[in-house]
């Protein structure tokens, strides 16, 4: 048996088949699994009140947060390749936040965006702008998470910088001779040349967004004021389930309710969604790369 087949069987096929198997069983980790047909599937899709809000939030994050991160990362990467002085400081400033552990970064953002005492709202108040509730307001919690994701855009900045520096200079020189402006050069030279990197950023961003767990969980718990205590419990997703994501449901069902069967259903939904998004994007990839040629 080839090493690849062993790795594939142990780390992919077996876990996947087990997940499918357990999704059709009632299993709490103590009593042996008992086949219960499509009960878990029916429960998750029709009776579990957290599923659809989590699905909507995850899709929102996939579309909005990933788009914003790619556009912002590209913008910062472009700036980093263009500015002449202080480029080292600029790159460091944008890269350092990426190194912050997710829990610490989230705690810092909850503090910065605290509606009562945070410096962000103090500043907004001072200039006469409305100060949102951020992590305590269901309408603002996902934009606040997006802001946190943009703050940690250093990884994309580095990747885009490397790609941008690889674009042949003679193409820009020829375009300039033809009278192409900055926008035309960006559209017809830069973007086609780095389209594989953009595709990489989008695909990895989508996968990260599908697995988005720590930041919304920590932000929701801290903003709700439940960070430990004498046995207090809280459904994830504060406020109003707005920070709930599908990976949180896997944890909630599997490791808090100990309903492994239902947790496996959500895990499979997540797997199917990731596969669908990736397949869709990879099909588009051919067109994008073709445009670069």
């Amino acid at each position: 048996m080839s090493p690849w087949l062993i790795g594939f069987s142990v780390f992919f096929a077996y876990p996947l088949l087990s997940t499918v198997y357990f999704s059709f069983t009632k299993y709490d980790g103590f009593r042996p699994p008992a086949f219960n047909g499509a009960d878990n599937w029916s429960y998750v899709f029709t009776d579990y009140p957290l599923f659809w809000p989590a699905m909507r939030n995850t899709l929102w994050l996939v579309v909005v947060m990933v788009s914003c991160r790619v556009v912002f990362g590209l913008g910062v990467g472009l700036l980093a390749t263009k500015i002449k002085t202080g480029v080292g400081v600029f790159r460091t400033l944008f890269y350092l936040p990426y190194l912050a552990p997710p829990v610490a970064a989230t705690l810092a953002f909850v503090f910065l965006l605290n509606p009562g005492t945070g410096p962000a709202n103090t500043l907004l108040d001072a200039v006469g702008l409305p100060a949102p509730g951020w992590f305590t307001d269901a309408d603002w919690s996902k934009p606040a998470l997006t802001a946190l994701a943009l703050w940690g855009v250093g990884d994309l900045m580095v990747i885009f910088m490397a790609a941008l520096l690889d674009v042949p200079k003679e193409q820009y020189e020829a375009a300039e001779l033809d009278g192409a402006g900055a926008w035309a050069r960006l559209r017809h030279i830069t973007l086609p040349n780095i389209s594989p990197i953009i595709m990489f950023a989008v695909v990895t961003g989508v996968i990260q967004a599908m697995q988005y767990y720590t930041q919304p969980l920590v932000a929701g718990k801290v903003a709700a004021g439940v960070i430990g205590g004498s046995g207090q419990q809280l459904e994830p997703g504060y406020p109003d389930r707005s920070t709930l994501t599908l990976p949180q449901l896997v944890h909630n069902l599997g490791f808090q309710r100990f309903d492994y069967g239902a947790a496996c259903v959500v895990a499979l939904v997540l797997f199917a969604l990731s596969m669908a998004f990736t397949a869709l994007l990879m099909r588009r990839r051919g067109g994008l790369i073709g445009a670069g040629r």
Partner: protein, 446 residues
């Protein structure tokens, strides 16, 4: 490979995986054959983390080890229910033998899944009549369907802790006993800040995210019945729930409204820090457990502290003095191979009056046995006296154990959040939907 061959292989693989998964998860039936007189090392996990609490636990264990020289106890603190559950499911040598949990809500799940051994045979073997040792309510929340899989390890009673100095300044002479008086007092104690958009002081932070102000603790004042005789969720049929939710929603409105209060609440720090808003004078009344008054004193607050039972609805004035009860529970892992020795530790911690009193004195909790409640060694301060009386009150209540653990309470809590925010037009209709959800979840967990 021919098509049928591939199908056969796939089916065989699936069957093998199924068999493997089933085999890996099978567990032996509960049995305790170990010799409690043999030399043994027990692993004990608990949730306390504050230095004083950890020290109190260690002192108790040291006394136990002195009395049982053959048993050594390895103690691990700061454990959450999540970690406990994972370790019990994983089993093996590293799993704990004895576990204590802060969350009485998990008891139904612990018992239903057989994560913890039934302690009834151990109680019987030791000649301990549990009904004569523990108060009735505490026995209620430590068992599920006759399976006494945990025992009480200290008790928590919930009442009102208030700032006597702020009361005097507002001309209030005694703590409110009825809900309508409670609303009046809370309003009188509420002061706007200079901007008028926030508060210098609130009489009470009434929202259900305000630390211990949970819907279940407030509902206890209305003496609700969570489940009917058939075990079905009873929230929409018992008017207590709708009355409590309406009263709470009105209180939120009377103190400035949900958004303004939540914005103020977001300025609060950690519940367990010295900067708790009650300590700093930003909140004049706090719905809390018996630990709050001593914690405030330890934080060096500059005002006098009073304690009282929570107010009752106006039409239940005769029942003033009741409150919500819960507490820490302790059990023996069903996978432990040292259950008889583990029982010696559990018996000592939960039934030995001297041990229970010493631990209660050390961490300012309400004792969990009838004998300890009456013990002359119990350090009873005027503040603690209130909570001891709540614990003894015949109409004090708790939340019943269910197969889904605390999930039914979380469903109710989520609905309560929506009500206090003003997002529910018809509370009774909403509670009917909560009933349906609770019944579905419990049926799935059983």
């Amino acid at each position: 490979m021919p098509r049928t061959g591939r199908l056969t292989t796939a089916a065989a693989l699936l069957a093998a995986i199924s068999a493997l998964a089933t085999a890996c998860t099978g567990r032996a039936a509960d049995s305790a054959t170990d010799d409690p007189k043999a030399d043994v090392t027990l692993s004990f996990w608990h949730g306390w983390s504050a230095p004083g609490e950890v020290q109190a636990i260690e002192e108790g264990i040291a006394r136990f080890e002195k009395a049982h020289p053959n048993i050594k106890v390895e103690v691990t603190g700061n454990m959450t229910d999540d970690k406990i559950n994972q370790a019990l499911r994983a089993g093996g040598d590293k799993a704990p033998d004895v576990v204590s949990s802060f969350t009485t809500d998990s008891v139904g799940q612990f018992c239903n899944s057989r994560a913890f051994a039934d302690l009834n045979p151990f109680l019987h073997k030791s000649g301990v009549d549990k009904t004569k040792v523990f108060p009735k309510t505490l026995l209620e929340y430590t068992q599920f369907k006759g399976n006494q899989c945990t025992l009480p390890l200290l008790n928590d009673a919930y009442g009102l802790v208030y700032n006597k100095t702020a009361f005097a300044a507002a001309g209030i002479t005694e703590p409110p006993k009825t809900w309508s008086r409670f609303v009046e007092v809370a309003q009188k104690l509420t002061k706007a800040d200079a901007s008028g958009d926030s508060y210098e002081q609130v009489g009470l932070m009434p929202t259900f995210h305000g630390y211990e102000t949970t819907p279940m603790r407030l509902a206890a004042q209305w003496s609700p019945t969570y489940f009917d005789a058939d075990g079905r969720s009873n929230l929409s049929r018992d008017p207590a729930f709708a009355k409590m939710l309406t009263a709470q929603k009105d209180l939120v409105a009377a103190l400035g409204g949900y958004e303004k209060l939540e914005r103020f609440r977001s300025t609060f720090g950690d519940e367990w820090s010295a900067e708790h808003p009650f300590h700093t004078g930003r909140v004049a009344m706090q719905i809390d457990g018996e630990w709050r008054a001593p914690m405030a004193k330890e934080a060096g607050v500059g005002f006098e502290i009073g304690t009282a039972p929570l107010p009752v609805p106006d039409d239940q004035a005769a029942d003033y003095g009741k409150g919500y009860l819960s507490g820490t529970v302790v059990g023996i892992a069903s996978g432990s191979k040292k259950q008889n020795a583990a029982w010696e530790l559990v018996k000592y911690m939960t039934t030995d009056t001297e041990a229970v009193v010493a631990f209660a004195n050390a961490i300012h909790n309400v004792p969990s046995t009838l004998a300890a409640l009456e013990s002359p060694d119990l350090k009873v301060t005027p503040e603690l006296r209130t909570f001891l009386d709540i614990a003894r009150h015949p109409k004090s209540g708790t939340t019943p154990a269910r197969a889904d653990g605390g999930t039914y309470q979380l469903t109710f809590q989520d609905f309560a959040y929506a009500v206090e925010k003003g997002g529910v037009a018809d509370i009774t209709a909403g509670l009917a939907e909560v009933d349906r959800q609770i019944d579905t979840d419990i049926a799935k967990a059983e």
